[in-house]
């Protein structure tokens, strides 16, 4: 007779399965490193949908010696490779060398998972086997390491960092995660029940696991985008600005005479061009945040380093040089033969300087530029420091000439038009995901992107035991003093029905697509 049953509920936080599914769609590999025992870890894997019932196979590595672990890893690899070659009809008989291994394992068919114990991990992380272990693990869709010590967590992260050249993020909430958080490129601490050691050691911290998706897909992605645009723009403006002096050198006997007023040069980076750059670097958004979360594929350019690499850098530089050519030679061409409308010369050094410098603000905040320009060229400052502020009255005079404004307008047009044309053509011919998303502002839901399993209710997921556990042992009455007759009859009936109901439940949950709420076991 069963007197009672105890069950321990290990609640997952809200939104964990969805987050994991979304991050997997964003091409992020997720590994679980936990100190729990194997059964708990596997159950948690099932409940947060890292492991699914329709996975081809879940490899469990529990060897206690180096040889056993090696053997188990080799068998896992063979199975993965075999599944790939089954369709072709060939089988790989010989042992593959490690270099061939990488290419073969990258194209496995089917989804695999690897579960490895702490003591096996200790052997697998040895110098001669770590690469094998890493290749096997990376070929699997999900990796769960259980009974892992804090040191081993750090070692696993270190292994991935060293060989995979990927950016690693470690997220944890307890003091045993601190070493892993510190080792990874980005450490995230979850502040909550287990105290704040993880938070103190981390780069970012928040209170729920599900905030990770916003951190990565919105904040992280925008941060990368902004940084790249900022860098490109910074190099461009400085190149354009400085190359003008290079061209002027040909005309001033290479005497290092500056084209601009010295105060323009001093204030250029600080005042004139700082605001637009900062604004872009802090506020720029290419796609609204909801779309960022809906389309994890937008995360890819950051992973593939597409927005600022050698090619982009050289394009920036080329644009800078092109702008500098225009910005010098157009005013030069105009001023070489020009006069003012009252006959006096226009082509004096200071007027030229003012014209070239004013061509810039077509791309910058005009008001700031003009305010400072007129202040610098004012009589007041010249009176006070005649040898410092030499450009007296120049702005007012030069900028009253229609020729000067026409020159500036022409320079602006010729600088900007090719860029607009290129961008438009690129949008028409090769739009990438963010461009198409910007256009599709009004569309409603998109089916294909949302492959996240729907949780109907807002209750958190439950982990429950897939194994039989000790129920049968208890029910068999071997550790209870009751009449054997009554017990045996009761045992036979209830144990079979219990097992059958368990099997039925398992098949039910496997067939239905939505996870639903899995109720804890009832006797």
């Amino acid at each position: 007779m069963l007197l009672g049953a105890t069950a321990i509920e290990d609640k997952l936080q809200q939104g964990v399965p969805e987050t994991i599914a979304l991050l997997t769609l964003a091409n992020i590999k997720i590994w679980v490193l936990t100190g729990d025992k194997q059964e708990t870890a596997v159950n948690i894997g099932y409940s947060c949908k890292m492991l699914t019932d329709d996975m081809t196979e879940v490899f469990i590595v529990t060897g206690h010696t180096v040889l056993e672990v090696r053997e188990e890893l080799r068998k896992a690899r063979e199975k993965m490779v075999d599944s790939r070659t089954v369709g072709n009809g060939f089988t790989y008989q010989e042992k593959l060398s490690s270099s061939k291994l990488t290419s073969v394992l990258e194209a496995v068919a089917g989804e695999y998972a690897l579960v490895i114990n702490g003591h096996s991990l200790a052997h697998a992380l040895e110098a001669d086997m770590e690469l094998e272990f890493l290749e096997t693990a990376c070929a699997c869709k999900a990796v769960i390491c259980c009974r892992v010590t804090p040191l081993q967590k750090a070692q696993v992260v270190e292994l991935v960092k060293k060989y995979k050249k990927a950016v690693t993020l470690a997220i944890g909430d307890g003091a045993n995660d601190v070493s892993m958080i510190k080792t990874a490129h980005i450490g995230v601490g979850i502040s909550g029940q287990e105290g704040i050691q993880a938070v103190l050691a981390s780069d970012y911290s928040f209170s729920q696991f599900k905030f990770l998706q916003r951190l990565l897909l919105v904040h992280g992605r925008w941060s990368y985008l902004r940084m790249c645009k900022f860098l490109c723009y910074f190099f461009y403006k400085n190149f354009a600005f400085t190359m003008v002096h290079f061209w002027f050198g040909f005309f001033c006997g290479f005497s290092a005479q500056t084209v601009y007023d010295q105060y323009f040069i001093t204030l250029y980076n600080i005042v004139y061009t700082s605001l637009p750059v900062l604004a872009m670097g802090v506020f720029d958004q290419d796609v609204p945040e909801q779309r960022s979360m809906e389309y994890p594929k937008l995360y890819e350019p950051g992973q593939l380093n597409l927005l600022f690499n050698k090619r982009e850098f050289f394009i920036c530089i080329a644009q800078g040089i092109y702008t500098s050519v225009l910005m010098f030679f157009i005013p030069y061409g105009v001023f070489a033969e020009a006069t003012r409308d009252d006959g006096t010369q226009l082509a004096d050094y200071q007027s030229f300087a003012v014209t070239v410098a004013t061509s810039w603000p077509s791309l910058q905040p005009l008001a700031v530029y003009f305010a400072i320009l007129f202040a610098m060229h004012s009589n007041g400052l010249f009176d006070m420091f005649p040898n410092q502020f030499r450009f007296v009255g120049n702005a007012q005079n030069t900028l009253a000439q229609p020729t000067v404004w026409l020159t500036i307008a022409l320079t602006t047009v010729v600088c900007v038009m090719p860029v607009v044309a290129f961008r438009f053509l690129r949008l028409s011919l090769k739009p990438d995901l963010s461009d198409t998303l910007v256009r599709k502002k009004q569309k409603a839901q998109h089916r294909c992107m949302r492959r996240v399993g729907r949780t109907g209710s807002r209750r958190s997921g439950y982990a429950f035991s897939h194994q039989e556990g000790f129920g049968e042992l208890i029910m068999s009455g071997k550790n209870m003093r009751l009449s054997s007759l009554a017990l045996s009859g009761f045992t036979a009936r209830s144990s079979s029905s219990w097992i059958e109901s368990l099997r039925r439940k398992k098949s039910d949950s496997a067939s239905s697509p939505s996870g639903g709420t899995d109720k804890p076991l009832k006797g």
């Binding site: 502040s191 209170s207 904040h219 925008w222 002027f248 005309f251 001033c252 006997g253 005497s255 005479q257 506020f283 958004q285 290419d286 609204p288 945040e289 157009i330 030069y332 061409g333 105009v334 070489a336 033969e337 020009a338 006069t339 003012r340 409308d341 009252d342 006959g343 006096t344 010369q345 226009l346 082509a347 004096d348 050094y349 200071q350 007027s351 030229f352 300087a353 010249f382 005649p386 040898n387 030499r390 000439q401 229609p402 020729t403 026409l406 020159t407 022409l410 047009v413 010729v414 038009m417 607009v420 044309a421 961008r423 438009f424 053509l425 949008l427 028409s428 011919l429 461009d435 910007v438």
Partner: protein, 308 residues
């Protein structure tokens, strides 16, 4: 439960639009209509502006006479600094086929004189020129003080190399207060020629205003057609540095000067913008057709499948 909620509140980050990255943003996206309209409009504007500028530049009349080597052997004479006392004059005739109407300006034009050299531009003293401190000559090296330790007025290389029939400190035959014997107002630092020269030019080839036509009596309408000649006192040596000098007579328009560059540049820009916009329009339509044809094909394929 209550304690937890209080804890949560204390650790809750600010929910402001700025910190939660929820600021409104506007993305400039290049729709076809916008791009094409901008390109066409700017093309039209540039074309018209260019034609207008070319026409106004063409309406200017200009006479330029390069007298570097044509003024007898004055060039050779001036190459030797010891000949600075010797006066060398010549007279160069020229013919105006059409009369020059309106204001006529006379310039002297120098080729190959780098007034934009770094040390040259530095070598002046604005305090001295403003009469704030006549002795402030530090920047004017090497033309600071004479061998008698008297500071030059005006000091500096710019002043020293002044273009005129005559020059002083230390190569000026006349001091600054005697630059213009006819007009007492036009002496000292306020001398027009001096001021014009001190305004350093941007390029090695430049022209500076020398005189204006005084429209009285016979010249009230401008310069009528006929035979003229320039009487030149050749003083400024240019052949030593392979430079040249000429005198220019020119009328003016609103856009100033007879340079065709701006007009041409505008016309070329307008034409290229138009060509570019036509090319982009063509590409745009080709793409649209291709998309339409592929989607038609796709829908046909789907229909075929569904029927089966």
């Amino acid at each position: 439960m209550e304690r937890r909620s209080r804890l949560q509140l204390s650790r809750l980050p600010d929910i402001t639009a700025m910190k939660q990255q929820q600021l409104p943003a506007y993305q400039l996206h290049f729709s076809a209509t916008m791009v094409f309209s901008i390109f066409f409009a700017s093309g039209v504007f540039c074309l018209f502006m260019g034609i207008f500028l070319i026409l106004s530049a063409k309406s200017i009349q200009k006479v330029e006479i390069n007298y570097t080597k044509t003024c007898g052997n004055c060039a050779k004479l001036r190459e030797d600094a010891f000949n600075h006392n010797k006066i060398c004059t010549c007279s160069i005739p020229f013919v105006l086929a059409k009369s020059m109407e309106g204001n006529v300006f006379m310039y002297y034009k120098l080729y190959g004189f780098y007034q934009n050299l770094y040390r040259y531009i530095l070598s002046r003293s604005n305090s001295q020129l403003l009469s704030k401190d006549l002795k402030a000559v530090e920047d004017c090296a090497p033309f600071k003080v004479s061998h008698k330790e008297i500071p030059f007025a005006p000091c500096g290389a710019i002043a020293n190399s002044m273009f005129n029939g005559t020059t002083k400190p230390p190569y000026w035959p006349k001091p600054i207060y005697e630059l213009d014997p006819d007009d007492p107002e036009n002496n000292g630092f306020l001398n027009d020629d001096f001021i014009v020269w001190m305004r350093t030019a941007a390029f090695p080839t430049f022209k500076k205003l020398y005189r204006r036509l005084h429209r009285i009596h016979y010249f009230i309408e401008g310069l009528p057609a006929g035979n003229y000649s320039f009487n030149i006192t050749y003083n400024f040596p240019v052949t030593k540095f392979q430079g040249e000098k000429s005198v220019v007579l020119s009328t003016l328009t609103w856009s100033g000067g007879s340079s065709l560059f701006l007009g041409l540049a505008y016309t070329v820009t307008g034409a290229m913008t138009w060509l570019a916009s036509f090319a982009m329009l063509a590409i745009h339509f080709m793409l649209k057709q291709r998309k339409a044809s592929t989607s038609k094909w796709q829908s046909k394929a789907l229909k075929g499948q569904s029927r089966k």
